[in-house]
Amino acid sequence: MEILTQAWPWYVAGPLIAINMAVLIYFGKRFGLSSNFRTMCSIAGAGKLAEFFRFDWKKDIWNLMVILGAVIGGFLVSEYLKSDELMDLNPEVVAELKGFGIKNPGEALAPVELFSLDQLFTLKGFILMVIGGFLVGFGTRWAGGCTSGHAISGLSDLQLPSLIAVIGFFVGGIITTYFLLPIILNL
């Protein structure tokens, strides 16, 4: 049981993700977790406004099942397999984040001070959750995929476009982490 409740190391998680990708290919699908947003827009009737959403979304119900499963998986871990230990973060990172007012870095998966519902009505919370989410949804469709579609599936298939996308992920992530977050977290 202890092996299950402890945090899983990278050399366990990485191969399991690769197996997951192979299983989806065997099921005749692809490992990509961002297409569900387009499917939901289409179900909500966005096809009336843009051609991009006019497609047979019934064929994409499988990706809604995958993300429903991803919700259940998160629930199961938090209920039954949760580790009681703090995450094993780099001490320099912990010190830095404490300086931004995050009291106990690594206590939960996300900083509770920033990602709670009441934070939504603060400028900080709005930027992190609403603007952040918007950029993820906009960027992933523009790039034609996310971490699973490009960084895992695309690179595994030696696709140059995916490498360019991953470089983009890092350009954006570095800009946010080094330049924007220090301002946002001090708001």
Partner: protein, 137 residues
Amino acid sequence: MKLIKFLLVGVWMGVIFSKSEIISWFRIYEMFKFKSFHMYGVIGSAVILGIIFIQLIKSSKMKSIQGEEISIAGKDKGWKRYLFGGTVFGLGWALTGACPGPMYTLFGSGFTSFLIVIFSAAVGTFVYGLLKNKLPH
């Protein structure tokens, strides 16, 4: 059964995401600060094994569960959409600390606020759909 198998894949994925902490805002922050090997190890080992799997699938002409030939379509050529779209995605990834799949797992883990993040991402995709023809690809 057709759809249940995808639900099970999703559950298993959510468990991996959550137990390996790759859906953690803290891990993403650490990654972009280059202060931990964890995320690089996860993605790197997944890709190395993934390359082997895909080569095997292609060379063995393996059939899918429905008995059809598996063909893995390459990505469209070009670079603009990948670089620009990827950068926008990265800006958001470092803010939310979660990519599209993990957002759902975080919601399931009890972070109700991620429902708002998911909704915002859907709005982002909607706005992309409206502007698609005006953006460089």
